[in-house]
């Protein structure tokens, strides 16, 4: 293949990566932004979403598209429920102390991993794509499903943006983020907002998982990379800044795709980590975060 088409292919792979990463990282960023909780278990919420997607698609009869559609609705709800429960039973009792919640979410991530290992097993299992469509470009054919993933991610991220900026629920979340004592003084049930935001963040990771699982397979250790990359994205974008998170996801996703195709995935990760180090040294609040 010529360089041009090859680059196009790499960019397309990068776009798929960026789309899924944006979903995952926005979930992490939302939780940090509103609750000031660094959720180390975020990657495991993604993993749970993927494993549940395997179960759902495996046991729902009918053509793959039916099972997949069910998974896309049910998995984020279950994972969100687990997250809300974790918030109420664990994080709330720690009073959302920043250090204690880090330790607690590390603990949670091991619990989820071991649970997945016990009930799902150590194998990576594929989930069939809901449809098989190959889009033929002049130079190569490309998976129609991957393009659908990108479109779905854009729609969901747009919905999140509308939720945060245009709805009463978004206003309540932002008020809670800005000043939780004062939010309480105006009738906002902060405990409920926190549980909902933690569920929403985890739900986004689960949606990303369901979308990615026909491409990547479900495995009980699959949460590590998305967690690392989400942290990279969120640090570069500026902790808690949704706009920054989105932009950084696109930059990291695209460059990861291109570098992986032309050189190697390992080099892509090394460069991303280097970029984080540079940002931390020269602009620790992130590219879009407010100055402390």
């Amino acid at each position: 293949m010529d360089f041009g088409p090859y680059l196009l292919l790499a960019l397309m792979e990068g776009t798929v990566m960026a789309a899924v990463l944006a979903l995952t990282a926005v979930g992490l960023s939302l939780v940090f932004g509103v609750m000031r909780v660094v959720n180390v278990a975020h990657g495991e919420f993604l993993m749970l979403g993927a494993v549940l997607a395997w179960f759902v698609t495996h046991y729902v009869p009918g053509p793959p598209v039916v099972g997949f559609a069910v998974a896309l609705v049910v998995c984020p709800l279950i994972v969100g429920g687990i997250a809300a429960l974790s918030d109420t039973l664990i994080l709330k009792r720690l009073n959302y102390d920043p250090e204690a919640t880090i330790v607690a979410t590390i603990g949670l991530s091991y619990i989820f991993q071991q649970a997945a290992l016990s009930f799902y097993g150590p194998d990576a299992r594929p989930v069939e794509a809901p449809f098989n469509l190959r889009i033929q470009f002049p130079w190569f054919g490309y998976s129609g499903y991957k393009i659908a993933v990108v479109l779905a991610a854009i729609v969901i991220l747009l919905a999140i943006w509308l939720l945060m900026t245009r709805t009463r629920a978004g206003l309540i979340m932002r008020a809670t983020q800005l000043d939780r004592d004062t939010a309480r003084a105006f009738g906002i049930n902060v405990d409920r907002v926190y549980a909902a935001v933690f569920a929403l963040g985890a739900g986004l990771a689960a949606i990303a998982a369901v979308l990615i699982v026909p491409i990547q397979q479900a495995h009980y250790l699959m949460g590590h990379d998305p967690l690392l990359l989400s942290f990279i994205v969120v640090i570069i974008g500026g902790l808690g800044s949704l706009r920054g998170t989105l932009l950084a996801a696109v930059v990291i996703g695209l460059s990861d795709g291109v570098i992986s195709v032309f050189f190697s995935p390992t080099l892509a990760k090394i460069l991303a980590t280097l970029l984080v180090a540079m940002v931390l040294v020269f602009r620790p609040q992130g590219l879009f975060g407010a100055k402390p």
Binding site: L178, D179, A185
Partner: protein
Amino acid sequence: MLQLQNVHAGYGNVQVLRALSLTAKAGEVTCVMGRNGAGKSTMLRTIMGQIRASAGSITLNGTPIHGLPAHEVPRHGIGYVPQGRRLFSELTVAQNIEIGLMTRKKGAATRDHVLSLFPRLRERLSQRASTLSGGEQQMLAIARALCLEPAVLLLDEPTEGLQPSMITLIRETLLALKSTGVATVLVEQRVDAVLAMADQIAFITAGTVAETIPAKGLSHTASQFQKYVGI
């Protein structure tokens, strides 16, 4: 009527309020004075449920409110203007007002009424709260609390750092509210402002109300000001 009886409260194991009692009647302004660190803000935060009273009772028209979760206290009609304003700084004026309205599900009529009290806010609805001047921020903090149509209004040093014309505006607003039957608790350090507004004055020292006196006929030189505030 808001009534605190023998309230004890503090932070962790630091006791701040000790057997504090105070009554604020409808249609009256109760001014609270005391030195820095006496516990004035702590008292208001305890009323709001942000700090739990470890003993004693707080009642609103006879209904106990001291056991309520913090977010339910304002729903009973207690508006709060915290020290330092505590606006939702990244939100617009309109959004700050909207959060005030949401507290007790008030609508456009309340909004219009509140904005008519502070026309300058109406001109700045889409401006971020953090970009308002100090005086405008204080107006917004008061407007946000008035959006609850409160029966009780708690204000923590609302005139701190404001110029005389702004202080006059705030005073007129509070006096107008008083005539509508609101029970006002005003933490205030300026003697002239207190004398212009107060029906009664409660002096706090070391976390307790040491003395409560009627304001009528009181002079600037009353011994209590010297004794409890050091002016």
